[in-house]
């Protein structure tokens, strides 16, 4: 076993942080370490936190860290912010709200930039959660970028997905339209001390009741919180525990882990396959000609791409 992987398994913080960095940067050493770590993962409760920008996700995560620590659990957080599409750089400021936990040896917080990934996660969020899981953290929280209506990748990653809303987002609560309503295992109405909270609660409850639910299935609760005041946080932590217990009781936890492995695998397969095919396709003599033809609009992009792939 590689030396660094064994240190990660012992929970050594700097080593875990370094392996995540290697994975993020696409360094082979990271993949080698992950191969050792992955079989040791699968114990942590992975909780996704998603919702529109300004909903208070980071403050909520901060309060949840405190609640989980009171329950004696070791907690890791992956907090994701967008990369600039222009420079590729990023300003990652989620942890400003969580810094009171910075020196707690049982809390690990990692900021990640999306690095061009759409869907609310970063390119290597899956890998990072596997490393943190293998390090022995009991709960791994993943805070997505502020999402709109179809950035729902977190569902493939988390056992339990929290969808955070706030009062005053508009009469029909734009942010929970369509997709995002279906993905929540727990709905949070944060900033519930603000005006408009009762109306927002009514709308949310109505929409939740309209959800098709199979007999005996988990019924997503709506929890009101004021994270900045630490109100409602224990109830929220209870709901997270209840959802995990429900998954366990129905044997769905193993199924969720299996599905997560499958998604991870398929995504890698797509990446590797695309890389190989693009390498092969662009090596050939016909590639520069086709590219020139596409640029000159002498051929449509569909036909050009089909021709190249067919020639492999």
């Amino acid at each position: 076993m590689s030396e660094i992987a064994s240190r990660v398994l012992e929970g050594h913080v700097a080593s875990g942080a370094r392996v995540i960095r290697w994975l993020e940067d696409g360094e082979r050493k990271g993949v080698e370490a992950l191969k050792v770590l992955y079989p040791q993962s699968g114990r942590a409760h992975i909780v996704g936190i998603t919702g529109p920008p300004g909903a208070g996700k980071s403050t909520l995560v901060d309060a949840l860290i405190a609640a989980q620590r009171k329950r004696g659990r070791r907690v890791a957080v992956v907090a994701i912010d967008p990369s600039s599409p222009f420079s590729g750089g990023a300003i990652l400021g989620d942890r400003v709200r969580m810094q009171r936990h910075a020196t707690d040896p049982d809390v690990f917080i990692r900021s990640m930039a999306t690095r061009g990934q759409l869907g609310g996660l970063s390119r290597t969020t899956f890998e990072a959660t596997a490393v943190l899981d293998a390090m022995g953290y009991d709960v791994v929280m993943v805070e997505t970028v502020g999402v709109g209506q179809d950035e729902l990748e977190v569902v493939d990653l988390a056992h339990t997905t929290l969808v955070v809303n706030v009062p005053g987002l508009g009469d029909d609560i734009q942010a929970i339209k369509a997709g995002i309503l279906e993905i929540g295992d727990i709905f949070v109405l944060n900033k519930a001390d603000r005006p408009g909270a009762d109306e927002a609660e009514k709308v949310l409850l109505t929409m939740l009741h309209l959800r098709d639910a199979a007999e005996g299935a988990w019924s997503p609760p709506l929890i009101k919180t004021a994270a900045a005041l630490e109100e409602g946080i224990d109830a929220l932590a209870d709901a997270c525990d209840a959802h995990r217990a429900d998954l366990e009781a129905r044997g769905a936890l193993a199924e969720a882990a299996a599905t997560r492995g499958e998604h991870f695998f398929l995504e890698l397969l797509r990446d590797f396959a695309a890389e190989k095919i693009i390498d092969r396709a662009t090596e050939g003599a016909s590639y520069p000609k086709l590219l020139a033809a596409v640029r000159a609009r002498e051929i449509d992009p569909y036909t050009a791409a089909e021709q190249l792939v067919a020639a492999i």
């Binding site: 942080a17 940067d25 590729g88 750089g89 300003i91 990652l92 400021g93 810094q99 900021s111």
Partner: protein, 135 residues
Amino acid sequence: MPRIRVLLAKLGLDAHTIGVTVIAQALRDAGMEVIYSGLKQTPEMVSSTAIQEDVDVVGLSSLSAAHMSHFPRVVELLREGGAGDKLVLGGGVIPEEDEQELLAAGLHKVFTMGTETGEIVAYIQDWVAQRDAAS
């Protein structure tokens, strides 16, 4: 693809964020990932944050005369935590006579008031390039 990661931290009690914001934006525009950890950070918070985030660079800012006690302490804590390989920079209101002492304590460079952001960007890029060439 590797990206340079930088932690920017404000030590001490001052609440001035304009300078640190300007630097954060300049570093982002140069393609770096900047982790900002907020105001009133202690050396302990800064060093554990730098380790968890595995940054290449730690940028310390102080406008309230906390630099002489706090900056060297960050360097010390990073070394103790096995993270002595990071570039540690200081900035803010720092009298000339303090600069030498800070450099002796292990800071790589001190940028005083009026430094162009481009100079900081170039310094970081050069340091990282040299480090990577050496490894």
